[in-house]
């Protein structure tokens, strides 16, 4: 499997960027790539306070799974439009008990560089601390972490080579006159009904149909296949300093809205304690804007109870082009927020000794079973 993936990866970086005419009306914003890619760094010298190009992130994933074999495995999720492999990292301590899953994805929008930076930071923090830190250690007793550091790989690469403010994927439309689908408008939930555009020129273009894009298909078919086990779906974005609950496609609230707000607010408080940064909590339709086809809403509607969008720093001062000097502080505070959510999720389903908690449904089923056995 590995040699095949390696070949596919090589194919991926050989595919030329910007196939065909770039339909954007603005001047193409070409930038000199200042960083030179150094493929043979060791993990010890990997900087989590710098932004990394995709080649380095691919390399990092391999190195992480090699250094932490037994706990980390790298898995293939699917191929992007430009035929690049999508990988996620599974962090899992081997055990006999069935695990629940925490899903985290970053970089569904290409220009939101701080998000993939956070995914890498998160993985590093978990792996460097699960042995000595009981708070993190206990998570791994009953939870597996599935982390997708860059969802929109083609777009991310495009922001490094051509246009730093590109948002969408790099799929070709309208006979090559239009590029990119907004992957966070492409999921199969109230698809393209509101807050999205059917015009391929627009930045909120919803695609040619629900889950029309290979990246969307890759994520949704995988998440769907594991939905019984996934308790938490976190999707990381920037900017705006928000913790968003479902929904964007309606002002109606999910059945567990109160709980989501409570958990979200607690996370925002924990975040603020770190560096004083203010985050607002609310449903997307209430505090941000209406959207349809968003991954967070889709995840909630297939039954994943804790589904959040995080919009990281800042508030517009630098926006998408957040200075690398702020990566550390941003990641530290965001880590506090995510850990807070994980605490709440963990305590909802397990006791501190790791034993499963009785849920109302479990009680009823238990009684039913015992009742049936009497008949």
């Amino acid at each position: 499997m590995k040699p095949l993936l390696g070949t596919l990866y090589l194919l991926g970086i050989l595919v030329p960027e910007g196939l065909g005419y770039d339909g954007s009306l603005a001047q193409p914003r070409r930038e000199v790539v200042e960083e030179t890619v150094n493929p043979w760094k060791s993990l010890d010298t990997y900087s989590y306070t710098k932004y990394h190009p995709m080649e380095e992130i691919y390399q990092w994933m391999i190195q992480i799974s090699e250094k932490y074999t037994g706990v980390v495995t790298q898995h293939f999720l699917g191929m992007t439009y430009e035929i690049r492999p999508m990988y996620y990292l599974k962090i899992s301590q081997p055990s006999n008990n069935p695990k629940k899953i925490i899903w985290m994805d970053c970089g569904i929008h290409a220009r939101e560089w701080i998000a993939p930076a956070f995914c890498q930071w998160f993985v590093k923090e978990i792996l460097q601390n699960y042995k000595d830190n009981p708070r993190i250690g206990r998570f791994l007793r009953n939870l597996d972490f599935y982390v997708l550091p860059v969802l929109n790989i083609d777009g991310y690469i495009y922001t490094w080579t051509t246009d730093r403010l590109w948002r969408k994927s790099r799929s070709s439309h309208n006979n090559g006159t239009c590029f990119g689908t907004d992957l966070n408008r492409n999921f199969n939930v109230a698809w393209c009904s509101i807050g999205a555009s059917k015009d391929c020129h627009d930045l909120t273009f919803c695609g040619t149909g629900p889950a029309s894009e290979p990246e969307t298909k890759a994520v949704s078919s995988f998440v769907e296949s594991k939905k019984e086990s996934i308790v938490c779906f976190l999707t990381m974005h920037s900017y705006g300093q928000l913790i968003l609950t479902p929904y964007g496609y309606t002002k109606n609230k999910s059945s567990n809205h109160e709980e989501l707000i409570q958990v979200g607010q607690k996370a925002a408080n924990a975040l603020k304690k770190k560096h004083g940064t203010n985050f607002r909590v609310g449903s997307s339709a209430d505090i941000l804007y209406t959207t349809s086809g968003a991954s967070r809403d889709w995840a909630r509607d297939i039954g994943i109870p804790f589904s959040y969008t995080f919009e990281l720093r800042d508030n517009g001062t630098y926006g998408f082009v957040l200075p690398a000097a702020q990566i550390q502080a941003t990641c530290e505070e965001t880590m506090e927020a995510v850990l807070s959510v994980l605490d709440d999720v963990y305590e909802k389903y397990w006791d501190s000794d790791g034993a499963g908690k009785v849920t109302p449904t479990a009680v009823v089923l238990g009684l039913l079973v015992s009742f049936m056995s009497v008949l």
């Binding site: 603005a26 930038e31 200042e34 403010l165 930045l203 909120t204 609230k253 926006g319 957040l322 009684l367």
Partner: protein, 291 residues
């Protein structure tokens, strides 16, 4: 997930009956829980009152942004730029023509806030949005954040730095992709933000609001006749559409004098291109000691 314990099965001939009575309400509870779990478009509709509150909050935010852009432009001071801290209070009223008047009070922060500096200015404003037409009418007054003398001093310092920059400027974009702005180029960013404030004020409506994302090119930078003559292209980020709008801006600035701005934006959505000219406001920025 297996339940922790299972109650012992009812035994004896009379067993099942009491168990059924126990089970029924529990079953009902479970069914309710199951039905509610995959909440699709389910859930209760927001009360009209709640929706109004959110609408109000949104309009107050928009008004604060428009007022602040206008304030920054009118103050004409790249060293005294402000950002929105929080909206304290306000009221928005919409007339039958869908025009919107907003009266509000908000706090501001220094744009170039140094560490530890926690000075908050306070502003009161009246903003009139003309139903998605540009150029909201703004009346705004703010408490002083920086001493007038200090501000003039800082402006003049910035101006001196600008005069010393070697032309032509060897820059591709500010900041670079990694968000870095060379300290020597910082005055350019501040001045660009000042010019962009004019553009962003004009373009802010009830629904649209902007941020300056990046200076994509510096076309001309002259300081011949004392004033700074700055021609640049800025990328504005419009939040609700997520679009990036390139705007060519030409400004002329001298410390203490009103800012002169000309601009032309490349609109992707509407056929008409937005452009405007302002010879700076003749009205000196009004500041109050106590508010």
């Amino acid at each position: 997930m297996p339940p922790r314990g299972q109650p012992p099965p009812a035994s004896g001939p009379g067993g099942p009956r009491p168990a059924v009575l126990l089970l029924a309400p529990l079953l009902l509870l479970a069914l309710q829980g199951v039905a509610a779990a995959p909440a699709g478009a389910g859930g209760t509709e927001d009360s009209p009152g709640l929706q109004d509150a959110e609408l109000q909050r949104g309009l107050l935010q928009q008004a604060a942004r428009a007022a602040l852009h206008f304030f920054n432009f009118r103050a004409g001071s790249p060293s005294a730029l402000r950002v929105l801290a929080a909206v304290l209070e306000g009221r928005a009223t919409v007339n039958p023509k869908k025009e919107c008047q907003v009266d509000l009070v908000f706090t501001t922060d220094h744009y170039n806030r140094e560490d530890g500096e926690e000075r908050l200015g306070k502003c009161s404003a009246r903003v009139f949005f003309r139903n998605q037409k540009p150029r909201p009418a703004v009346n705004v007054t703010c408490t002083r954040l920086i001493e007038k003398n200090k501000r003039q001093q800082e402006d003049y310092l910035l101006y001196t730095h600008m005069k010393q920059l070697k032309t032509p400027l060897d820059v591709v974009s500010i900041p670079d992709s990694h968000g870095h702005i060379d300290p020597s180029l910082r005055p350019i960013w501040d001045l660009a933000f000042l010019g962009s404030s004019y553009v962003m004020w004009e373009k802010t409506t009830q629904f649209l609001h902007y941020y300056m994302a990046q200076i994509s090119s510096v076309n001309q930078w002259k300081t011949n006749d004392d004033a700074v003559d700055f021609d640049y292209t800025v990328l504005l980020h419009e939040f609700s559409t997520q679009e990036i709008i390139p705007c060519r801006i030409h400004l002329v600035w001298y410390p203490g004098k009103p800012l002169k701005v000309k601009y032309h934006c490349q609109e992707l959505q509407t056929p008409e291109e937005a452009s405007g000219t302002e010879e700076g406001s003749a009205v000196a920025p009004t500041e109050l000691n106590n508010f």
